[in-house]
């Protein structure tokens, strides 16, 4: 069991932090992500549980993380990488983990991240004829949008 953790440590260009016995963070910069994912899959992390984005608006970055899991070793490995917020571009991981295809479509629609190699990213996925900026970004003001588009009911009387 320990063998795997040593192997993860040897990953080049990766900063490893073991938060718990079965949760290991691997921080990699943008262009080494695909290589790391591939080597982790060879080690036995066959399942991509989640691929999503955290909007670090303070330091102007998108944090993209891939949660991998191995049924054999019962360990979660979270590969993290950072992309700047102005023109966020990442490489698709659906060649290694097919389920990443749908995650990337959601990320590109909700955060406006451009994913190279995933041809379905431009297509409408969840939102129907949405004109505004991607809604999940922190700089999108949801309250302002909803008060503009929807009329609130005044509590005191019928506003018909």
């Amino acid at each position: 069991m320990m063998g795997v953790v040593d192997k993860i440590k040897e990953l080049d260009g990766a900063k490893i932090t073991i938060q718990r016995e079965n949760r290991i963070f691997v921080d990699v910069d943008k262009d080494r992500v695909i290589g790391t994912l591939y080597s982790l899959k060879l080690m036995g992390f066959h399942q991509l549980s989640v691929q999503n984005v955290v909007d670090r608006i303070k330091d102007g970055k998108f944090e993209i993380f891939y949660v991998l899991y191995s049924h054999e070793y019962k360990i979660n490995v979270i590969v993290r990488t950072w992309v700047d917020r102005d023109n966020p571009v990442i490489e698709t991981a659906d060649k290694i983990y097919p389920s990443a295809h749908t995650w990337e479509r959601e990320i590109s629609e909700m955060f406006g991240i451009k994913v190279e190699g995933n041809e379905d990213c431009g297509k409408p996925f969840i939102l129907e004829n949405w004109k505004d900026i991607p809604p999940m970004r922190k700089d999108f003001d949801s309250v302002k949008y909803s008060s503009e588009h929807f009329v609130f009911r005044h509590s005191e009387g019928e506003n018909e």
């Binding site: 129907e128 505004d132 809604p135 609130f152």
Partner: protein
Amino acid sequence: MERMTEEQVKTIANMLRKRSLWMIHYCTGCGAMELPPTMTSRYDMERFGLAPYVTSRQADILLITGYLNVKTLRRVITVYEQMLDPKYVIGFGSCALNGGVYWDSYAVIKQLDRYIPADLYIAGCMPRPEAIISAFRHLMELIDSGKADGYKRYKRNLAYYKENQRKVLG
């Protein structure tokens, strides 16, 4: 004499519509979980002549059970327009009244009756089966007294409803 029989026909028709209400099995929000116990042995709404039906052509009541986001609104409007005429809409829970906990969401509409005419609202963040059954009984009284005329309102100011719908759906 002619007007009087017209009146009698209307009352008989309303009495019949009250006794046999068919509900379309279209669960739009989280309130749909309250319907199974209402339909089955525990609370048994069939005692009052209510029965779940599948297609919009056969149904009289459309239940908006919980929050209604923009995508579902488009489908709900199609279903509503496909239903045959004496039709009633019941809004479940606070989400149909004023958006409820999703008041700040970019996707959830805040007022049901701006888009389709709602005859009745049931308060509560998902009303319990007893509340649903009392709502049905209240709807029966409305039908009997002829006040449940949401479908007439929809026909009368169709432009108003269509305008609101177009503004939201785009």
